[in-house]
């Protein structure tokens, strides 16, 4: 049973990844569509950021004593200033550790 699930999930995931490569012909994309597609990271990634920081494991919002909020804001500021992926991750993580260990 688990094998069937894993393989089916794998096929579905591959189809999702491959679908648009298979179907879209670049010349059919309008300039507007191309422009809107440049916003894909900005439209998808915040949905992976906000809930991960703001919700606890029970699915409830929590912001009192939530050090993750402070650390993520710090990372955003560092990212804004540095425009550097590595520096942003390291700074965010180190600041987070300072907050939880000290």
């Amino acid at each position: 049973m688990i094998w069937i699930l894993v393989v089916t999930a794998g096929i579905i995931t591959f189809c999702l990844r491959y679908s648009m490569i298979a179907f879209i012909k670049p010349e059919t994309l309008s300039e507007t569509t191309k422009k809107v597609l440049t916003y894909v990271p900005s439209a998808v990634f915040p949905a992976m950021i906000f809930p991960a920081v703001l919700f606890n494991e029970q699915g409830q919002l929590y912001y009192e004593n939530n050090v993750q909020i402070l650390a993520i804001l710090f990372a955003i500021v560092v990212g804004y200033l540095s425009k550097n992926t590595l520096i942003t991750i390291l700074a965010g993580l180190i600041f987070y550790w300072l907050l939880i260990f000290i």
């Binding site: 688990i2 069937i4 699930l5 894993v6 089916t8 999930a9 794998g10 579905i12 995931t13 591959f14 999702l16 990844r17 491959y18 679908s19 648009m20 490569i21 298979a22 879209i24 670049p26 994309l29 507007t32 422009k35 809107v36 597609l37 440049t38 916003y39 894909v40 990271p41 900005s42 439209a43 998808v44 990634f45 915040p46 949905a47 992976m48 950021i49 906000f50 809930p51 991960a52 920081v53 699915g59 919002l61 993750q68 650390a71 993520i72 990372a75 955003i76 990212g79 540095s82 425009k83 992926t85 590595l86 942003t88 991750i89 390291l90 965010g92 993580l93 987070y96 550790w97 939880i100």
Partner: protein
């Protein structure tokens, strides 16, 4: 003469390939603990080591693998499990649409390979490369970034299975996941229209977080893209 031109060509491919590896390196900091956590969790939740390991290359998508093992161990129906995996991974449809502009001209084996290697991280770093470097070997960048992520994901899953939780829970490394996504957006932080889209998407994700099937990701993404479309229509009217 011919040999010489051939060797510069290979050099180019190598260079682009290694650039892909180099660009994805910072993102491995979160991938390693995440892979280990997945390996440990799979075993803890009662999957066999073989299933846990194989799912990492059959599915090759951390978030969806976690959803699958969690729901399976909780006794959810296959339909719910596969539905959730589909919804969680539906964001790849958008990545696929973005990357299609750059990799559609490649032959079938390349398209299949890069399709399989498409993850949040590989998409993000290589899309940035594709947008800034238009040449015939640019796809080697995604081959480098994707393959590196793939390899590290398999190794870290295996480490989790074999060695157990070698990373202390107190380190709070789950936090590196949202941190990764912040670090992938840093180039857009100075552009107001992109920041508005981020805030809209983030706000919607909070509102819709408790919907079934983890639908909040794709709903927030679509509303974010509609916002982007509307902003651009406004800008067009203004410039006319």
């Amino acid at each position: 003469m011919q040999d010489e031109s051939k060797s510069t060509k290979t050099f180019q491919k190598d260079k682009v390939f290694f650039q892909g590896i180099y660009d994805v390196l910072p993102l491995l900091i979160p991938v390693v603990p995440f892979g280990i956590i997945y390996g440990v969790l799979g075993i803890e939740l009662g999957l066999s080591p073989l299933v846990t390991f194989c799912s990492s290359f059959i599915i090759f998508g951390g978030a969806s693998q976690l959803v699958l093992v969690n729901l399976f161990s909780a006794g959810a129906s296959p339909l719910v499990i596969l539905g959730s995996v589909s919804v969680v991974n539906s964001r790849h449809l958008l990545y696929s649409a973005v990357l299609s502009q750059f990799i559609n001209k490649l032959n079938l084996p390349w398209r299949l390979t890069l399709g399989y290697l498409m993850t949040d991280q590989a998409f993000s770093v290589s899309y940035r490369y594709f947008a800034n470097n238009k040449h015939e070997h640019s796809h080697f960048h995604m081959f480098g970034s994707g393959l590196t992520l793939w390899l590290i994901w398999q190794i870290s899953t295996l480490s989790g299975i074999l060695l157990g939780s070698i990373i202390p829970e107190e380190l709070g490394l789950e936090f590196t996941i949202p941190l990764t996504f912040v670090s992938l957006l840093v180039y857009e932080f100075r552009k107001l229209d992109y920041v508005i889209v981020m805030l809209v998407s983030g706000f919607i994700s909070i509102l819709t977080f408790n919907l079934p099937f983890k639908a909040y990701i794709i709903i927030s993404a679509i509303i974010g893209l509609i916002t982007a479309y509307l902003i651009n229509q406004k800008l067009k009217v203004k410039t006319k």
